[in-house]
Subunit: 566 residues, 2 copies
């Protein structure tokens, strides 16, 4: 038997999945010759238009997604991360799962449908560290849990400043996604607030920050944007127009004009960056997207195709323009690329991609939506919402999924989902933090839960006594602090305040202990640093500080195993 | 207004929640004088008898739990970890959430209902690191995701050895919990296997290991234990009697006689240890549980009570015996303690705790169960299963919960839950690993994904060439390996094999990079170690190794910021 030729699809968003579905159809009679392969990060297809409903709870966690192997019966599915696309060798390398060996897949035809990534790498300070993204199912899940967590914590928090931080929610970006998220956050937060006698809806603050003077300005006509703003404001959402969300700290959202909004929960819907895998490809790009011809084929290749949000595909209607990164286009591109691959293989002429958008819709929570169809029908309010639900429901893949979602919706009317907060997530041991000049990292007397390393900037160590404060040391880039309370399981013995804007790394107490116990020379470093600090600051430090440090040095010498042997 | 007196309940299992429910009733007319406070790790009450159904998918993820603030309308709820119980000061200290300050709560009456913890600390090698526990909702959620993950990975894995590892599931302990879990794993794994054309049910191996010669020997009469074993075996579960699961590595389960079962998924239902908070209390204990009198009051105290799995409560029927740690008892103890606190406050006589078990049931998956009622009615099979479902359903707290579960069950008949694998969990940066002598940690050519530190034992570094191998170094406790591939983003250049049993710490590539980039002296250490290794092994190491190390040292000097300043 001859080896089958392989058609490999990278990515299982709307583009990738609809390409696979159409390929299964097109190659039905050629299954002995062609193998279809789909590589996906997750084992399911996320129906993104319904993701925001997961946050609000009108859909169950898994109702907005479909298992890929159920949708695609004749496609080989690899649920793996892609580590490399090797154009020269016509292969794709997949990261290991349950082993240490990676997997190389040869391709005869390659469809790149990797979309873009929510990635704050290019964003200014703090958004990467402190803003929540909103793109994948896991993001919706985390956001829901976060909202429940802050509101429950606030319910029995007595410090009014902390309460304010907990009960403020900031969303950056007033496009489709931002508007939908802020509506769901607002609905859920207000619903939850009512359930606690100790909370008052007036304490809640839900803020949407948009860089233009009108919401959904890129996607919708003026009238609908204005309607959306009015509706959200009526429900209690505060909208700040003509401002960018530029930065964030663990406690605040910061706008370009320096406005600071104290908030523990900051969502940014803005940053969509090219997938690093796409960036690395040696193809011509337009706006960081792979340039294709009108047949969806990557310029200068014979067997490589690109679709969806990672591709710049010439828009047939408007010369010099490219197809917008929407689900509607991705679905049609997926189908078209499958037919063109079939055509190429069977030596028939390729067909130019052609599609005109049907319409745009956004849901505003609470049974309200806005919609524009065929460029001239405009709807808003409840009617638009019914239309929105019906349209998306009809497009849900698979009968089972349709049934489940319908039942979820009906159930939601009678027995709404409870605000259970599933803490399945383990926090990573090492986190990045961004602070502004003047911010307090911790106060004297706080619990010693993290060790901090300064990556950028400088901080001052303050000794506070009856409202007076004295600077006892300045720490800079590469130095660390907070180890004293960690090593002694005691409270912080000094306050740390940022002198400049700071980038910090925080290591959890538990992980710090593991490292110090097992890394011989790291331990040595801590001892040396403590000695130096002591000598330098002798005159300024009070007795307890000396004792603490003495204890550490002693503890380190006696208790820990010597790793220098061997 | 006078300050309210505080009745504080620690723990929201069956005991704590039913105590709170009964206290709300008992203190209905005294709400101005008494404040009820419940401290819980999660914001929900887990209905544990139904937890195994979450694994199999006949219940949705959140259907087996109820939001506590919905169940308990008049109780102040703190969703926090407890960091200390301070008997001398009549207070409980809670860990911070969204801040660095902890919270101290005064109590006038304290109910300790902390249960026990699934904790492999006292377990022999490897169970802590590699066996999955099964007690909380998050455990059920993780186990379900794991089963889906290994089966999907196996579906397209071509190496028969890896396939075998992926498709073997081992459960340790044949009590109630173990029997229920193995039944659900077996059902789910077989169902999933059918969905993949590339998998054969014959490849699946589901193994239950029990230390006695009969299942559920502590809980059920012989006949039902034998029935359970036969039923499970008929469905393809392999049962190993009279053996303990004693150890585990990333790839194998190990029995006391040295039998090794290659398996990626190992579940241990056995280890239930006392909560560390309970251990630390200065009270008299029996079998690590707090000894109470027959009124549920902790010996030697006036205002402290203990119930549920963390308490040793004299069994009224049998002198010298204590109440068993079951949900049935915990519920009654919770109610009784609430009534006794009320009695004490109103100066009425306390009532002795008295309850006789109604019966025991276990579900065996696939619509089969075993049950014993009132000590003489014994049922098995479908009838027992219907009985099981009805009984537990009737006891579900709240009408909403009842409705949701009923709908879930009905839906499950027509549109079964899809095997979506939700990767909401982020792996912690630092993990512990246990290996046996002779195990390979990684092979030459593997992907460099972790740095390893040796905590116990020693390993050998092997240079392999055309089936021949040569030992080029021995590394021992406190030393590390694996950094070369990590620093160069290259494959492993040597194989690592354990000489003795080993305890290792693995640090993910990403976290390793963060540490090395920002910790000046750690970087120094790597450079020094590399130099030493080079000098020592010069004659043995091949050219590429030299070059690699040279590159690292160079890279470290040039690219990274100097953290010594400041």
């Amino acid at each position: 038997m001859e080896k089958k030729k392989q058609i490999v699809i990278l990515g299982a968003g709307f583009g990738g999945v609809y390409a696979a579905l159409e390929l299964e159809k097109q190659f039905k009679k050629m299954r002995d010759e062609y193998e279809l392969i789909l590589v996906s990060r997750d084992n399911y297809f996320t129906y993104q238009p319904m993701l925001s409903e997961v946050v609000g709870g009108s859909l169950g966690i898994l109702d907005s997604v479909s298992a890929l192997h159920k949708l695609l019966k004749y496609t080989k599915l690899y649920v793996r991360e892609i580590s490399e696309i090797d154009i020269a060798n016509q292969s794709v390398v997949l990261s290991p799962n349950f082993s240490h060996t990676d997997l190389e897949i040869h391709y005869d035809h390659l469809i790149i449908a990797l979309g873009n990534v929510t990635d704050f790498r290019y964003s200014p300070g703090g958004l990467h560290e402190h803003a929540l993204p909103f793109k994948f199912l896991a993001d919706a899940f985390k956001l829901r849990n976060r909202i429940i967590d802050v509101i429950e914590t606030a319910a029995f928090e007595e410090d009014p400043v902390v309460r304010k931080h907990l009960l403020t929610f900031v969303v950056g970006g007033g496009g489709f996604s931002g508007v939908e998220i802020v509506a769901e956050i607002n609905d859920l937060a207000r619903k939850l607030t009512k359930e606690y006698k100790t909370l008052d809806a007036k304490e809640l603050r839900v803020v949407l920050i948009h860089s233009k003077d009108r919401l959904v300005d890129r996607e919708m006509p003026a009238r609908l944007g204005i309607y959306a703003a009015k509706l959200l404001q009526k429900r209690g959402v505060e909208i700040i127009f003509n401002k960018h969300l530029v930065s964030a700290t663990p406690n605040e959202a910061i706008l370009e004009d320096g406005t600071r909004i104290p908030a523990k929960t900051i969502v940014s819907s803005v940053p969509s960056n090219p997938n690093p895998l796409v960036e690395a490809l040696p193809f011509e790009k337009v706006k960081d997207r792979i340039l294709t011809d009108e047949f969806l084929q990557v310029k200068g290749t014979k067997n490589i195709w690109a679709i969806g949000d990672c591709a710049s595909i010439p828009l047939p209607a408007k010369k010099g323009f490219y197809c917008p990164p929407t689900a509607q286009f991705a679905v049609r591109e997926g189908r078209a690329v499958a037919r063109n691959i079939k055509a190429q293989i069977t030596q028939k002429p390729l067909v130019k991609f052609n599609f005109k958008e049907l319409g745009m819709m956004a849901v505003l929570g609470h049974r309200r939506a806005i919609a524009e169809l065929f460029g001239f029908i405009r709807m808003s309010g409840f009617i638009a919402w019914v239309f929105w639900r019906s349209a998306y429901w009809a497009k849900l893949p698979g009968f089972n999924r349709k049934m489940k979602v319908l039942v979820s919706w009906i159930l939601d009317i009678f027995v709404p989902q409870e605000s259970v907060q599933l803490k399945a997530e383990i926090k990573s041991g090492i986190t990045h933090l961004h602070y502004l000049a003047g911010d307090i990292v911790f106060h004297k007397g706080d619990v010693g839960d993290f060790l901090y390393i300064i990556v950028q900037g400088s901080v001052e160590v303050l000794e506070t006594k009856e409202n007076a404060e004295k600077r006892i040391a300045v720490l800079e880039k590469g130095e660390f602090f907070g180890e004293i309370a960690l090593l002694n399981e005691k409270k912080r013995i000094a306050t740390i305040r940022c002198i400049t804007d700071c980038e910090l790394i925080a290591i959890r107490r538990q992980d710090f202990h593991i490292l110090v116990t097992n890394f011989g020379d790291l331990r040595e470093q801590f001892k040396q640093t403590e000695k130096k600090r002591l000598e330098k600051n002798k005159s300024l430090l009070k007795e307890t500080f000396f004792m603490d440090v003495g204890d550490i040095a002693k503890g380190l010498d006696e208790d820990l195993p010597d790793s220098k042997t061997g």
